[in-house]
């Protein structure tokens, strides 16, 4: 099975202090470090495991600039055979639909049986996977936390529903799936792994290579436009309980009972 995984380079949110720029156009990026979006990392691991079981190749693609190549390389160090950089000045500022448009062209150019993407990105809106499936007119399932390859070009997929229960579905290939974290345990990639793939050529495709009409992507084609970034004013504030641990615990139990959290 040939699998394409769509990945994104995002600010590492663990300890980065995210601040909004005074002009409200973006967050401050000077001191940020970046990594591959966590959900995408699970998607790549899943793709590699499927390919290990059933054969086929894994390709990792991202829409972005030369800076974003590092995440493609990292995922190749994990075990994806091919990388794909979708880079063109015309792509800059695309909204979710624009990104999906670019990815659709990349999918159409190859022969993929399955497209995986992360359920959402740290800095995203969780929209590209669904739009990509719609543009391709492929079946789509979201928040997938389990994949089993069946006979006859079908998958059995799982999704966690309320209360930790599982919902199982069947879906026909080719399809697009958005992957939930926890579906597997992604393997570790160290500096050594990245160095091993440092000299592997990653093809860079622009709008012309992909046959994309520049008018349908980029900032000008956005149908959703960002207006502002701002820090919301602080609310009425939380109540800090005072006293000894026993007193605090007793007061907390009372509060939880009063608000219906405990019955």
């Amino acid at each position: 099975m040939n699998i394409l995984v769509c990945v994104k380079r995002v600010p590492d949110t663990a300890e980065n202090e995210i601040e909004v720029r005074p002009d409200g156009t973006d967050i401050r990026r000077e001191d940020l470090v970046y990594s591959v979006n966590e959900w995408d990392n699970y998607a790549v691991e899943e793709a590699i495991q499927i390919a290990e079981r059933t054969g086929g190749t894994v390709t990792v693609a991202t829409v972005g600039s030369a800076d974003d190549e590092e995440v493609v390389r990292r995922e190749m160090a994990m075990g994806a055979q091919q990388g794909l950089m979708l880079t063109d000045p015309a792509f800059e500022g695309s909204d979710g639909r624009g990104i999906a448009e670019i990815l659709r062209a990349a999918v159409a150019r190859g022969s993929y049986d399955l497209v995986l993407c992360g359920a959402q990105a740290d800095d995203g809106a969780g929209q590209v996977g669904g739009m990509l499936a719609a543009l391709l007119d492929w079946p789509y399932a979201s928040l997938v936390n389990r994949i089993e390859v069946l006979e006859g070009k079908k998958l059995r997929i799982g999704r966690e529903i309320e209360g930790g229960n599982q919902e199982l579905s069947e879906i026909e290939l080719p399809c697009v799936l958005s992957i939930q974290t926890g579906i597997n345990e992604p393997r570790y990639v160290g500096i050594r792994g990245i160095r091993k793939v440092a000299s592997v050529e990653i093809p860079v495709l622009g709008a012309a290579d992909l046959g994309i009409d520049s008018a349908r992507v980029g900032r000008a084609a956005c149908r959703v436009r960002k207006l502002d970034y701002f820090v919301p004013p602080a609310g009425a504030g939380a109540e800090i309980l005072q006293g000894s641990p026993e007193e605090i615990a007793a007061r907390l139990v009372d509060l939880l009972k009063a608000k219906g959290g405990l019955k």
């Binding site: 590492d12 300890e15 980065n16 202090e17 001191d31 393997r187 990639v189 050594r192 160095r195």
Partner: protein
Amino acid sequence: MEPALVPPAAATLSGIPARLIFLLVPLLGIGLFARIIRRRLEPLRRAAPDDRFNRWGERLAAVFRLWLAQARQPRYFLAGVLHIVVFFGFLILAARSLELVVLGFVEGFVLPGFGGAFGAAYRALKDIAATAVLVAVVILAVRRLVFRPARYAVPARYGKDHTPEAILVLGLIATLLVSEGIFEASLLAAERQLGRETHALLPLTLPWAFARLLSSAPREALQALHLAAYAVHDFAFFFFLCFLPFGKHFHVVTSLFNVFFMRLDPGTVKPVRHGVGDEELDRLESFGVKRFEDFTWKHMLDFYSCADCGRCSDRCPANRVGRPLSPRFISIKARDLCFRRYPVRGPIAAATEPLIGGIYAEDEIWSCTTCGACEEECPLGIEYIDKMVDLRRGMVDDGLVPQSLQKPLAALEKRGNPWGKMEKKRGDWTLGVGEGCRVKLFEKGEEAEALYFVDSITSYDDRMQKIAQAAARVFCAAGVDFGILGKDEKDSGHEVRRFGEEMLFQSLKEHNTEAIRATGARWIVTTDPHAYNALRKDYAGLPPVRHASEVILEALRAGRLALAPAGDGVRTCVYHDPCYLGRHNRLYEPPRQVIDLLPGLRRVEMEGDCRDRSFCCGGGGLMLFYEPEEEMRMGVVRVKMAKAAGAELIVAACPFCLVNLEDAIKVAGLEGELEAVDLCELVDRCLARAGGRSTANGQGGTA
């Protein structure tokens, strides 16, 4: 004069000269033994290289201390003393056994030099030795069968119990001793029956007892006994020799070599591959130990040498708290695998299957804190830390890293600290140092004589920053001219290396080495034993590195610090030896001497669990992020020891120890009864009371 009994070399058995049999037995025995040893050497020939043919003087000294003087044996007193008896008994009786073997085909053979007075003295000595060993063997058998010390038990998941093997060997030893005694005593009894002069036997020795028992036995019985005892000794001797390489008694053969080639430098980590420099690491196809043959030949020799005494696991903190690790079985399982794949007969099948998921589990290998208690205890110089690190290198290379460790490793790569905190905030702790002490920043181009290498946890952790602040105030008061790297400092990488991420460690090391050398500092001080060990043992080309306790001790002795008791009355404190200050660097005394110079404190010891037997607090660095399976925290065991020693204050000299001990005090419910404090903080408290911090950093006088 004819001997009173026909000697073995002159006897005939159904018309066949017995000397033929007694010549054939040693020839076959030695031939078989040589063949077995050749097969046992086969995996060592296929193993990874190991650079041990060096430092002959130190190695001979180790042999003298650990092998000949049995220095570590009495640490477990009864078993140790019994072993010493058996060990020296073997050494003494080896000559007699050799003589006996030759007597089977050379009549009246005496070892060269063993005639005359020396021979008489030797005879007396070997009779004492044989008797002592027999007594020891009986006690050992009773221990094994009746008292069954817990450390010999084999949990079901690790395989079969080893008691039958132990009893068989004890039986063989007893057989050798008894048959030798009867052989000699039967001849003496016969000689005496003929009224001949014989040499005197020491009373209460084995031959003496047998000679008394046999004094009136008929001549024919004595003759039969004499030859039978000889034959039994001969067969038992060569059976024993060929049995040794099949189990834990292989150490009788290998221990001398194992001690000779043992690791000489505590605290170090072996290179990824001996003979491949740090710059050439990229050309290696694979990292670490993944299959059995990836171990070095010395590590395989370790597996052969393990005597299964269980001392490593008895002292192992991971084993103690129920983590899935027992160092003893790291050796035993590898030996069992080796014997399966390299049988003495039949085809060799190199062990191609991965060790992880085979004989070892991932959690087993991550459970080790590299505290070194096992290596400190092993009477045979078996090493474990390098094996753990090599196995982890293999796992890291294959991507098998627990999720809990992947995030801190990624953060270390990107930001130089395991939390991913911002570089520019690394020096923010200096804001809390207070008036009268200014910490210089090399990053701002300032100069100082000493560099304080703070390392990640002390730089960023709210609680541990207090150690840095206290240390800075103490250094200022002592007139130390020092500065810090600030944002130019990255994690020392001590645990990064010990967790198997060698390439990340190399990049941290390169960065720090360059940054440190650029400061022009003449020496380095650190409050973190892990950084101390890394800079001293893992880095190269740096100025001398000192731990804060050494610097403080020097200042105290020079009278540069004015102290007053930190509180009212006298508090009882106990010092907890951090693994990387104590066992790995032998700094046991300076921190104790500092405490003893502080007013208002009375120091006790956690007897039996201090200095080189210190019990690990739970591990530092990346170990703080690892989520082990365990029944109890190591720190909880440790604070209970401190409590039992009567302490109100447990003094650590390591930020990681402090994290673990403070947590453990809460978990153990000892809040209010026991307080954990860092040595620097303790000194700082006494300084504060004395108001003794008028000296600003390197500027002297007022600031």
